[in-house]
């Protein structure tokens, strides 16, 4: 057992999968430059020395190399493609949405696309084009699986499960949760480390996780917001409000069993999302819960409907925090 950050756990997970299966390869920008960064957040550091032929460093061409990854996948390779910032996924959208997600169905099951795609998300002082939470643009695409780990254990387990799955899986990682060190450390980073076992393990791609139990209200969140929701729950406990926190983890498909069990138990749900309130993943969760449990009290805490601002006070206002979560809980309880 060792304590690891998300970046370290992902790195180990990728190395182990590449050792386990020679079909696995990594493709992305700046991932395999000797003396380089190991990708923008150090996850692939050292990979090139271990697997020189299977760490493919690309030109700045997201549409092209994501398409190349899809093509390799339909021939039986198992690529892990990544973008440096989730915002760049838009460049690759046609290959992800029109090809990766659809090739199996429109071929009548002839093709499968065992492709893993990784993308860092979240606002971190870099301005609106390096800051978006991108999950919502892909959870709505039939044919894609979407996961978002909030801690190192889940990150490693989901990564391994994704590599072993025969379908296109998108893994959204939060920049403030990587735990990158030294020159790549992020101001405002949150501790997402976990104890990582020595043995091989996976985490199922379609399950949410209850990370704190309680009977008065359910907080539903993922990535950084799962941590803030947990902090809010600790704070609420001081006022004798017992909040249950569910880490959604699998954004598509949603684990309705776990979400519903909690919603039934507490009767009140606050969905917390970093990103504009309109049209988010939270909208889908709210609608789905409401259909299945008419009369359920639901509130959403999310960012305003604006591009991500730069100035620290504005960015701080953009990003939901524990205080805003506890406020929403109190307002819901007051009804």
């Amino acid at each position: 057992m060792k304590r690891q950050s998300i970046a370290e756990a992902l790195r180990d997970g990728i190395v182990e999968e590449m050792q386990r299966d020679p079909r696995v390869f990594c493709i992305g920008e700046d991932i395999g430059v000797p003396g380089g960064w190991g990708g923008a957040f150090t996850v692939t550091l050292g990979l090139h020395e271990k697997f020189p032929d299977r760490t493919i460093n690309t030109p700045i061409a997201e549409l092209g190399f994501f398409g190349i990854a899809v093509g390799a996948a339909i021939m039986g390779s198992r690529p892990i493609a990544d973008v440096q910032y989730g915002d760049f996924l838009f460049l690759a959208s046609d290959q992800i949405i029109n090809n990766a997600a659809k090739l199996r169905y429109m071929s009548g099951g002839q093709l499968s696309v065992p492709l893993v795609m990784r993308a860092p998300v979240g606002a971190t002082g870099r301005g609106s084009q390096h800051a978006q939470n991108m999950e919502r643009f892909f959870t709505c695409v039939p044919g894609l699986k979407v996961v978002a780990p909030s801690n190192a254990y889940d990150a490693k387990g989901l990564l391994k499960a994704a590599v072993r799955d025969d379908n296109p899986v998108m893994i959204f990682e939060h920049k403030l949760l990587y735990g990158s060190k030294g020159a790549r450390a992020e101001p405002g980073a949150v501790d997402a480390t976990s104890d990582i076992p020595e043995y091989d393990f996976t985490v199922p791609l379609d399950k949410a996780a209850v990370i704190r139990e309680g009977g008065d209200v359910t907080l539903i969140a993922w990535l950084l917001m799962a941590h803030f929701s947990h902090a809010a729950a600790v704070d609420l406990a001081r006022s004798s409000i017992a909040a249950e926190v569910v880490d959604v983890r699998s954004l598509s498909p949603l684990d309705w069993n776990t979400l519903l069990a909690s919603a039934r138990k507490t009767g009140r749900v606050v969905i917390v999302e970093e990103g504009p309130k309109s049209g988010g993943v939270g909208a889908e969760i709210a609608a789905g819960l409401s259909e299945r449990l008419p009369g359920l009290a639901i509130a959403r805490v999310a960012s305003p409907d604006i591009p991500v601002p730069f100035s620290p006070t504005l960015e701080h206002a953009y990003r939901p925090d524990a205080a805003r979560i506890t406020d929403a809980v109190r307002r819901l309880l007051a009804h």
Partner: protein, 326 residues
């Protein structure tokens, strides 16, 4: 005696081209009759490009195609039956009725179901070639696309990486002078497409796409280059489509004089005349070939019209692959 002079081989090339022409014409009339659902993008006039390229490929080679893929499919070895069944939307179609005309393909016969987004199949082909190379597989990918696709960013990014990594892919550009209704000189200043390969550090050439033997020979040479690790090749084939862009397009943007000029260089008439002149077949023999193909087509249509249609039980299958045992 080279394979090129083998009468059986040459007559087979003719039959393959006639098969494409009669299939496409037959499908066109099924649409006019109102018997077929959906839409079609046809390739009459472009038979020599499909047959010339595919006849040079081996069992370990694959092709990618576009929404205009019926000719490629027949040339690569798909049956009229599996294609007609697909066009009618039947479960016995090559894509179980879930793809339709623009996504015809059969991976077991070496054809990826068509990608209908212009340029969308080009990175795919490069990626397939990457996989072959990583596995030290001697196969090559032939990637079909039109002159219109060359303007897409996907073309630029994919050929650059294919060149950079010496991927075994032949980029086959069927230049029929029109991207939908827009003539090529309205979308680029370059006078040829093959010259662009040099700007990415690899080679290309422009070939008469209506001369099936010239296409076949150029493909053979490109295959040799690819298999020896020299990297990709850009094969520009000059050709012309006799029909509109899609079924509702009368093609009025093609000037009459241009049409007549190209029709006088029809790939099937040209090759048949050559074979007749060389004594391999006579006019009656050509007619018999055509009649046999038409009879096969009509029998396949009869069967396709009786083929089973998908039910609601099929609606949500084939979205995801089942979990592979670890």
């Amino acid at each position: 005696m080279s394979k090129d002079n083998n009468p059986e081989f040459l007559l087979n090339l003719l039959e393959r081209m006639i098969e494409i022409r009669e299939f496409e014409e037959g499908v066109r009339f099924l649409f006019l009759e109102g018997a077929m659902p959906g839409t079609i993008h046809q390739c009459q006039g472009q038979e020599a490009t499909a047959v010339g390229v595919c006849s040079a490929l081996g069992k370990e080679d694959y092709i990618t195609s576009t929404f205009r893929g019926h000719g490629h499919a027949l040339a690569k070895g798909l049956s009229m039956q599996e294609m007609l069944d697909e066009l009618f939307g039947a479960t016995t179609g090559c894509c179980k009725g879930k793809g339709g005309s623009m996504h015809i393909g059969n991976i077991d016969k070496g054809m990826v179901p068509g990608v209908a987004i212009v340029g969308g199949g080009i990175p795919l082909a490069a990626g397939m070639a990457l996989s072959l190379k990583l596995n030290k597989n001697p196969g090559v990918i032939a990637c079909f696309f039109g002159d219109g696709a060359v303007a897409e960013g996907a073309f630029h990014e994919a050929v650059n990486m294919a060149s950079l990594w010496n991927l075994p892919v032949i980029f086959v550009c069927e230049n029929n002078l029109y991207g939908a209704s827009t003539r090529i000189d309205l979308v680029m200043k370059n006078t040829t497409i093959s010259e662009r390969a040099a700007s990415y550090g690899f080679g290309g050439e422009t070939v008469d796409g209506n001369n099936v033997l010239a296409v076949h020979e150029a493909t053979k040479q490109a295959l040799t280059r690819c298999r020896s690790g020299q990297g990709p090749y850009l094969l520009e084939l000059l050709t012309y489509r006799r029909v509109g862009h899609s079924r509702r397009d009368p093609g009025h943007y093609q000037p009459k004089s241009e049409r007549q000029d190209w029709f006088s260089r029809d790939p099937i008439n040209y090759f048949a005349s050559r074979l007749i002149a060389d004594g391999l077949i006579d006019a009656q023999g050509v007619k018999e070939l055509k009649d046999t193909v038409i009879a096969r087509f009509e029998a396949a249509v009869k069967q396709a019209k009786r083929a089973p249609m998908p039910t609601l039980a099929d609606l949500e299958t084939d979205v995801f692959a089942a979990k592979e045992p670890a």
